[in-house]
């Protein structure tokens, strides 16, 4: 401000300079976006595919005859897609994945859903068999829960394994008090995060009666 007398610059010139700088910055970003986007999206699809394979416990890439298809979900109904698309809107659940095991029998659906946890959004995927109303397995895809406490929902293998073959809807019980096939323990010191995970699974199945619609759709398809 107290610099030696600077020549006055006309306001339109200032605005012009900023506009040009902004335009150049925008152009550069569009270019970098073009370069990096395919990589970012390929990685996202690969991660999702791996997660689907994991919760359905099948591996189509091994060439054993098992396969995964994707099913589009919207208000109108469910629709099988000609080719599996590994893109999903986790809040609205616009797509689910259907897996068949090596013998060609239906293994179950893989569903991705996210909701607010204790710190931040928790995104998870779980396998679900509508014929037996059973959750097959659950994996947390993304969370920012407190390290050492809340992140046990991701890192505590014993707890994650409680979701294997548990009846839905899941009932949360105190740590160590699990006694029925539809119960999952909460974690001491991370009650909210653990309850959050259970709630997300239940909410996904209840969202626009997804569980019912999946069962119906499967029946109509004659499987």
């Amino acid at each position: 401000m107290n610099a030696p007398a600077r020549p006055e610059v006309a306001p339109w010139k200032l605005a012009m300079t900023l506009a040009v700088a902004g335009a150049l910055a925008g152009l550069l970003l569009v270019f970098v976006d073009q370069v990096t986007r395919p990589k970012i999206e390929a990685h996202r699809r690969a991660t999702l595919k791996d997660a689907v394979k994991e919760v359905l416990a099948i591996d189509p890439d091994a060439g054993d005859g098992s396969r995964i298809v994707s099913v589009r979900v919207d208000d109108a109904g469910l629709e099988l897609e000609p080719e599996a698309q590994y893109e999903v809107d986790a809040s609205t659940i616009d797509r689910v994945f259907l897996g068949y095991d090596a013998s060609g029998a239906v293994r179950g659906f893989a569903i991705v859903h996210q909701q607010m946890g204790f710190q931040d959004v928790i995104r998870l995927i779980f396998g679900y068999d509508p014929r037996t109303e059973t959750v097959l397995a659950m994996r947390v895809l993304e969370s920012r829960e407190t390290p050492g406490l809340g992140d046990k929902i991701e890192k505590d293998a014993a707890w994650v394994a409680m979701f294997d073959d548990v009846k839905a809807p899941i009932v949360a019980v105190k740590s160590g008090e699990r006694s029925a096939p539809d119960e999952v323990d909460t974690i001491t010191g991370a009650t909210i995060s653990a309850k959050g995970v259970i709630d997300i699974v239940n909410a996904a199945l209840a969202r626009q009666e997804l569980a019912k619609r999946l069962a119906q759709w499967l029946q109509e398809a004659g499987q």
Binding site: L14, A25, I40, G148
Partner: protein, 216 residues
């Protein structure tokens, strides 16, 4: 420690070395504290954040010193921020594309490099007044200083908080990690104790120098 504004014709070596230790942005000037505290719960995260910031700082210093003649004084800050924000977005997208794991761990704090006062400070205090070469030296020195400070934080927090260093176990299985060190309070405490240690060390050096000066 108190000659923050560089003399116009300072020799090159001090320009480079100054930022690394004697005027370390984090440990001496208390700049860029937000990332220094938020993402330093592991050494890997600290390094990644340090390198991303280093990249943004060097890129911005280069452009600002190159274009300083065309940037009108009145809108210089807005222009600097625009340049910094562009580099940050580039860093963000590159991390997402090439090291998705780290991108996930650093989360929103990558975007927050924009408001790291250290970067804006170097543009205003140095790059906008000096030649391209010297600005780059200054940026590289300051950037290294920032990386060093972050790794110092990350090393203490990871070793004590998780019992590992870069993911490898340090103490064996019997060590009960001090979970608090990887939590937010640990960030404040670690930096506090580092500063305490450093000022104790400087104080002692000064006293020794004074004692020797008195003896001779």
């Amino acid at each position: 420690m108190n000659d923050a504004t560089p003399a116009p014709a300072a020799p090159a070596a001090p320009v480079f070395l100054r930022g690394i230790w004697r005027e370390n942005p984090v440990l001496i000037h208390m700049l860029g504290l937000c990332p220094a505290l938020a993402v330093t719960n592991t050494v890997a995260n600290s390094l990644a954040m340090g390198i991303a910031t280093f990249f943004v700082l060097c890129g911005s210093s280069f452009l600002v010193s190159l274009l300083k003649r065309f940037i009108p004084h009145e809108i210089r800050i807005s222009t600097y921020i625009l340049i910094i924000a562009t580099f940050v977005t580039v860093a963000d997208m590159s991390l997402a594309a090439f090291t998705p794991g780290l991108h996930k761990a650093l989360g929103a704090y990558i975007a927050l490099i924009v408001v790291n006062c250290m970067i804006l400070g170097r543009q205003e205090a140095f790059a906008s007044k000096q030649s391209v070469g010297r600005s780059m030296l200054d940026a590289v020195g300051t950037g290294f200083g920032f990386i060093i400070a972050l790794v110092m934080m990350g090393a203490v927090r990871e070793v004590l908080g998780s019992g590992t260093f870069l993911g490898f176990s340090v103490f064996g299985d019997n060590f009960e990690p001090w979970v608090v060190m990887v939590l937010p309070p640990g960030g404040f405490l670690t930096l506090g104790f580092w500063l305490l240690g450093l000022s104790w060390w400087t104080e002692r050096k000064k006293q020794r120098a004074a004692a020797e000066g008195g003896a001779s």
